[in-house]
């Protein structure tokens, strides 16, 4: 074990194919920041970034400086990456397997937030936890159901009763009289 590995070891059994290189991702991120800086600068031009008599620097003054710096730094970073390569030792940003794992959390998470709009936060959380445990964690149904019911119940009493912080509720809570 060298000092360079602060995170948990990668699972060695599955061959992990590189999907995106660190270099590509570095450049993509810097480009995104460049675009953002252009958007902000355009807005600052609309707002004005000069001196307004009696008011001092105009509204767009500070964001203009900030966006210019962000653009310059991102540009410099692209040059640096092109000349010296990406920063860390790992040339791979994410492997296919790794990306799959990230999506396996991110997509359910998006669905969960969509579900909150329709069935309220407690029911959505229950489904999310139970399904996540069963599908991703391959836990057994009874255990998943138990956690999926217990956690939202605990949260319900904590927020609605104990701390009096109302959270989004849906048809289930309405049916129960809340």
């Amino acid at each position: 074990m060298t000092e360079e590995v602060p995170h948990a070891e990668h699972a060695p059994e599955d061959r992990e194919h590189p999907l995106v290189s660190a270099k590509t991702m570095e450049i993509a991120t810097s480009l995104a920041l460049l675009v953002l800086s252009a958007v902000v600068i355009r807005e600052c031009v609309r707002l004005g970034f000069g001196w307004v008599e009696g008011q001092g620097p105009a509204s767009g003054f500070f964001p203009f400086i900030v966006a210019s710096l962000m653009g310059a730094a991102s540009f410099a970073n692209i040059v640096r990456v092109l000349r010296h390569g990406a920063e860390g030792e790992d040339p791979v940003f994410v492997t296919t397997a790794g990306f799959g794992r990230v999506l396996s959390v991110l997509l359910p998470l998006v669905l969960y937030v969509v579900a909150i709009h329709y069935i309220g936060i407690y029911a959505a959380s229950g489904f999310f936890i139970a399904l996540f445990m069963m599908i991703i964690g391959r836990e057994k149904l009874p255990k998943s159901l138990a956690v999926g019911v217990a956690v939202p119940l605990a949260l319900f009493f904590m927020f609605e009763r104990w701390f009096m912080v109302p959270l989004p509720k849906g048809p289930l809570e309405a049916w129960l009289g809340y």
Partner: protein, 508 residues
């Protein structure tokens, strides 16, 4: 001696059964947060902030700051036992802490880590006790020029103390400033960068950013690594604790050095993470057992833990006295102060005497309580990590979503949290620093206001920032820090890389 009297008064405020109970709850919650991946000091406190709205402010901040102490303690447990830094500032602790655990010396490593954390925090609290009232008194005379100089120093030190490329620090920081500028411009009343979306009127709340960047981003990173916990069992016998305590005094030089590094990095917001690396590096350079570093050297645990705790604690000094937090967690606490209707800054020491001294007294008590709890409950906390990740992960995500929702009771914030989560994941992997980003969102408005007011006063002349000795010296210090990476780069060009520690630290 006025301070001592104030402190004693503070103890009388903090030492009520109710507050002591909150301290215990806070520490336990904090350690759990510190142990769990995806929950850290900053987003843990952010998520729990709404729960304290109904409490009296002093009790609320006692509980929240205790969560922070707990998180600082908790990071060490996972670093040593599982080689997983629960918090970024305990990455340096894994270097020697985990090898010690694998040699079967986990009890020694844990005791050393907790004790040095405690000592680091204690030194920082003592410093706050005596320095904070002075700074506050001094800062009463600050105008916009002086405040801008301090803001400048704050952000310049992020650039100067960064371990990676300075470009990323600048980019992340400016992104934060740009996000902070979205919404109503308070000085002129014009709308900026809302692009016709009413949701953006009030701008980006940094609490949402904190929950997304640190919480969701961290979970995504952990899941990508295919997190599997395999580690050593956590046990701590009192005999071992005593044995280790007998050894610790001989490392006094490392402790003092790390305390100094930590206090300095906490006040000028380098933060706990760089402080821990710097202290580790210094300890390695000066130690007689230099070659044993990385293989299980107790000094390699003492140094980063002392510095991280000293930095984490002293980050509260500028937060209380100037209203300028030294770390993301301090920023969240500052957000709490404002929600409870307290205006952080020098006036706090005059107007909210009970609150300030109650908080400072609670720092002493909180750390004593914390040390006792972590020393006695290690097995319990280590057991949390045996709960399979697929059970813990969705619960953490649910808690993050609820935390984001409760900030403004708005679903838009929950979506925003998801967006920040993805940004956090990418930035984390590319080593863009998140702390300057968050602090820029928090402080952007204030820094801008100070800058514009200063320039308005001088009719646009930049010479105002060199108009008196105080501003000049702060600005000069800031400029030195700003161009610090360039000095390093020049030195490397001239005499080649000489610094093995920063080489090791770069990857982490």
């Amino acid at each position: 001696m006025e301070d001592i009297a104030s402190l004693m008064h503070g103890f009388s405020v903090a030492l009520t059964p109710y507050n002591l109970m909150l301290m215990g709850i806070g520490i336990v919650l904090g350690v759990i947060i510190g142990v769990l991946p995806g929950l850290g000091g900053a987003n843990g406190v952010a998520i729990l902030l709404p729960l304290t709205f109904t409490m009296p402010p002093t009790s609320a901040i006692i509980m929240l700051s205790c969560i922070y102490w707990g998180a600082l303690f908790g990071g060490a447990i996972t670093s040593i036992l599982f080689n997983i830094p629960g918090e970024p500032w305990s990455v340096a602790t894994t270097f020697d802490g985990h090898p010690m655990a694998r040699e079967g010396r986990s009890e020694e490593a844990l005791t050393a880590a907790f004790t040095s954390s405690f000592i680091g925090a204690l030194v920082a609290v003592i410093m706050i006790t005596f320095l904070a009232p002075l700074v506050a008194k001094f800062a009463l005379q600050f105008g916009p020029v002086e405040f801008f100089a301090v803001f400048f120093l704050t952000f310049a030190s992020f650039i100067g103390m960064s371990r990676g490329t300075p470009f990323k620090v600048v980019a992340a920081m400016c992104l934060g400033f740009a996000l902070g500028a979205v919404g109503l411009d308070k000085m002129t009343g014009t709308l900026r960068m809302t692009f016709g979306h009413p949701e953006l009127l009030s701008g980006f709340d940094f609490l949402i950013a904190v929950i997304g960047l640190f919480g969701i981003g961290e979970i995504l990173c952990s899941i990508e690594d295919g997190l599997s916990f395999k580690g050593n069992t956590g046990k701590l016998h009192f005999r071992k604790v005593l044995d280790t305590w007998k050894k610790l005094p001989s490392y006094w030089a490392t402790s003092i050095r790390s305390c100094l590094v930590g206090c300095w990095m906490g006040i000028t917001p380098g933060g706990a993470t760089p402080a821990s690396f710097m202290a580790y590096g210094l300890a390695k350079r000066f130690s007689r057992n230099r070659n044993n570093f990385g293989k299980g050297e107790i000094e390699g645990v003492i140094a980063p833990e002392t510095a991280a705790h000293a930095a984490g604690t002293s980050a509260l000094l500028p937060m209380l006295t100037l209203g300028i937090p030294g770390s993301p967690t301090a920023a969240v606490l500052l957000g709490g102060l404002m929600i409870w209707g307290l205006q952080p800054g020098p006036m706090l020491f005059i107007e909210q005497h009970d609150f300030v001294w109650g908080l400072i007294a609670s720092m002493y008590l909180g750390n004593v309580v914390g040390l006792l709890i972590v020393l006695t409950c290690v097995p319990l906390f280590a057991a949390i990590l045996r709960v399979p990740f697929p059970i813990i992960a969705p619960i953490i995500l649910v808690v993050c979503a609820i935390g984001a929702y409760t900030v403004h009771n708005s679903m838009f914030d929950v979506w925003m949290m998801l967006g920040f989560g993805v940004v956090g994941y990418v930035f984390n992997k590319l080593k863009y620093p998140l702390a300057p980003l968050v602090l820029a969102i928090v402080l952007g408005d204030k820094a801008e206001e100070a800058f514009r007011q200063a320039l308005l006063g001088s009719q646009g002349s930049l010479s105002i920032f060199y108009s008196n000795w105080l501003v000049s010296s702060i600005m000069t210090l800031g400029l030195i820090l700003l161009f610090w990476p360039m000095f390093g780069w020049l030195r490397e060009r001239l005499i080649g890389p000489t610094d093995p520690v920063s080489q090791a630290g770069k990857s982490a």
